[in-house]
């Protein structure tokens, strides 16, 4: 890294003087790198601890909290997997279903707002916009009642529905901005060809919106993954709990076997890690573009 910094060609237009300046490794550069490494160290420390403890028994941990100790106890992971697998599968099911279904709702709605200015659409738009300001904190109890009246208590569908409803407003807002960017001519041409709105969406909007959709999808996925209050309140059976609520429940044990719990935490993080490995660039790009707009 440091060598690269020294040898890299500056992308400034001026060649000579700047090139000279970047050849040495100045003190301030080292300072910057050091600062970043310090921050990174503290950020990663909890993760290191998590991994570390997941291989230990309680006794090993008491003797040697921070170092790696052999033998490594892989059975912690097996036990943790048993404890956590139902939660993970439930959460994967809920999150993926919610994400997939949400776009079926939000893309048409955003298209409606972006493309047409029909009577009443302004009112409807404000209908959605106000919700962005409304904090949902007071909704918990009535939402519980709504679910009770729909007979959806203690089921994963309730969580899916809540995931869908919760993400509507933000997604419609961002998607609308995005669709407005698409040149009008494309749509007009399609309409002349006789394509209805649905066709237009499928043929024009969806192919172009890859990055923004994936960013939104990932954000929503993470939101559903981390939600724990609604699952805790709505779900009765242990087998139906989602991940965050399940981890809280595991934390309620009296005698804590830290090795297994840490292994459980690590296993719980793996799905998100996998997602990010594959969508890293898309996500960073989408975040930047979306953020600058917003």
């Amino acid at each position: 890294m440091i060598a690269a910094a020294v040898m890299e060609r500056p992308y400034g237009e001026r060649g000579g003087r700047v090139a000279l300046a970047s050849k040495k490794l100045s003190a301030s550069e080292i300072g910057k790198h050091a600062f970043i490494w310090l921050i990174l160290f503290f950020s990663f420390f909890p993760l290191y601890v998590m991994l570390n403890i997941s291989f230990k028994t309680n006794a090993q941990f008491n003797l040697n909290p921070l170092n790696f100790v052999f033998p490594l106890h892989f059975e912690n992971w097996a036990i943790a997997w048993n404890l956590v697998k139902d939660y993970i599968f439930n959460t994967v099911f809920v999150a993926m279903s919610a994400v997939a279904l949400t776009f079926c709702f939000t893309i048409p709605a955003a298209f409606f707002f972006a493309r047409y200015k029909a009577p009443g659409s302004t009112a409807l738009w404000y209908f959605f916009l106000i919700l962005m300001l409304m904090p949902g904190v007071a909704n918990l109890i009535p939402l519980f009642m709504v679910m009770k009246n729909l007979h959806l208590l203690n089921s994963l569908f309730a969580l899916i529905i809540l995931g869908i409803a919760g993400a509507q407003v933000v997604q419609i807002y961002i998607l609308r901005n995005f669709i407005e960017e698409i040149p009008k001519d494309l749509f007009d041409a399609a309409e002349i060809d006789g394509a209805g709105p649905i066709r237009q969406i499928i043929n024009i909007v969806i192919p172009m919106s890859g990055s923004i959709v994936s960013t939104l999808a990932i954000l929503q996925f993470i939101g559903v993954w981390n939600d724990f209050i609604m699952p805790m309140v709505l779900i009765r059976d242990d087998k139906l709990l989602t991940l965050a609520a399940g981890l809280v429940k595991l934390d309620g044990e009296y005698v804590k076997l830290w090795g297994q719990m840490m292994a459980g935490y690590t296993i719980s993080s793996i799905p998100l890690v996998l997602i990010f490995v594959f969508t890293m660039r898309l996500f960073v790009k989408g975040l930047s573009s979306g953020a600058v707009k917003g």
């Binding site: 009765r236 087998k239 009296y254 594959f278």
Partner: protein, 578 residues
Amino acid sequence: MDDREKRPWGAYLGFGLVVISYIAALTNVFRTGQEQTWTNKKVIRICHWQLETGFREAFDWVIGEYEKIHPDVKVIQLAIPDKAYQQYIVTQFVGRTAPDIIEAGQLANSSEATNSTIARYFYGLSELVYQPNPYNDGNELKGVPWIHTFKHDLEWNWDAANLDYYTIGITGISRRLVYNKTLLKKITGRDVPPSNFRAFLDMCKQVKKYSDSTGQQVYALAAAKYQYEDIVEKLRTSLTVPHGRDTIDRNMDAQGDPGIEPFFGWLEGRFKLDDDRARISNEPARELLPYVEPGFMAKDRQDAAFSFSQKKALMILTASWDMNSMVVQARASGFELGVMEFPIPDGNDPKYGKYAEGVSGEYKDFNMPFGVCKLSRHADVAIDFLRFYSSKEIAEGFCERCGWMCAIRGTKDVDFIEGFEPTYVGYSFLGNPWIIGNETYTLKEQLKWDFYMGKISFDEFVKRYVNQLIPLGAKDLNYNTALYKNGLVPSGQALSSLALRLRYAADEKERDHLRFRLTNAAESYASYWTNLQTTVYQLLMIMNIDNERTRALKKELQYRMFIDQFVNAQEKPRGPNP
């Protein structure tokens, strides 16, 4: 350029992963869903908060045995962490998704709300408990009515407010002092700590001296927040018995209907919160305070147990449900355990002898009661399971596996739990004079730690409490009134018998008819709740007394509503006789 070239296989791999994981998740959810519904089996669920070592495994054994005999039944155990139990149960009741068998504790903060919840959601078992338990046919308890197969004849489970048996508990609990025999011998040379309070304090002093002199830090007593409260209560009750016996207990049921009766007594001026007895009843705990491990009010019970097992403390007041894990930990740490009663001041004590009245009987203590929920669809299966659970062999096997005391006659307990045998004889549990409902509960919780720690004096504590007592007490009374108005009755014999008849109804027509009658009976009996009558009567009497406290209370109380309700109740026609 690079991105687009790279994208195909990376994206496909990612997408494939997504699809595979979704299918895996779907399969798992579907499989779990199948297990849950078990369309050909009857499923009953049991929930409790006993996450102690060995409990869930012992319960799994019971479930396994039951399912062997009844292959058409599936029993699921739901273990909820203690801290989340109250929220869980409240939510399940409100959502009408409650499990079939529920451990009936931590239902609400105030006793009125608890009584109301029990009356509303649990079946009364009075008719059933007098029938013999068919699962006892193979032993000497054959033909004995279910109620008498318990050592305590279900006295622990009699609900005096609702006048019925709603729960069955097969274990007893008690709290005893557990001590580290090895360490005790080393420090003091004794085998057993003294059972005289003064001598006990001296021994604690000795431990402290030892700790200071050798530099090896050992405290006499380890405690956690709620264990310390137990100690305070034990010491306090023995000194304040006459309050209940002579002053507060208006309705002569040997209980200070927690909060209400002391509150009315206080309003009248008959009961003082700060008389000599009350003052001195907190002294023994104060004397003990220097010898308790510091920082205890922030601790959880597992932290206290940890200190004890690490030999940092000599003794710990523990309840029988924790004994199993204590034994395991002691074995791991390599010392011997001993069990004894917590020493309380007796009549010969120089300071407290004048006030000491004796031990309190441990018959009203919570004992892991399981009740059957009215919302259950298989109540008969649930009752059958409870019968199975409380049959002699199964109960004995269960208690053996989890190390708890067994309350079924003729069973033998595990050796280490024998010291915990509850004392049946003693004074009744007075009830907490400081708590009327949610508000006063919160008030007391806020004030008590400063007081226990000695940061504020007793007078200061009482003063601060009394300052807020009338407004908060009125709020609680208002809420209780709302409960009475909307609650179901526990003149519950009638309701329970109707409910039972409903369960065993012959056909749908009879079921409909019984449901109709049940609802009517519930509504019309709503005004005849015994506690309501007692409370209202007492309150009417209080309101007739004119002193500054009652005047203040009249302002805060929704007085009219309360009295109107009672007057209306008198005029309402009595409901149909069942």
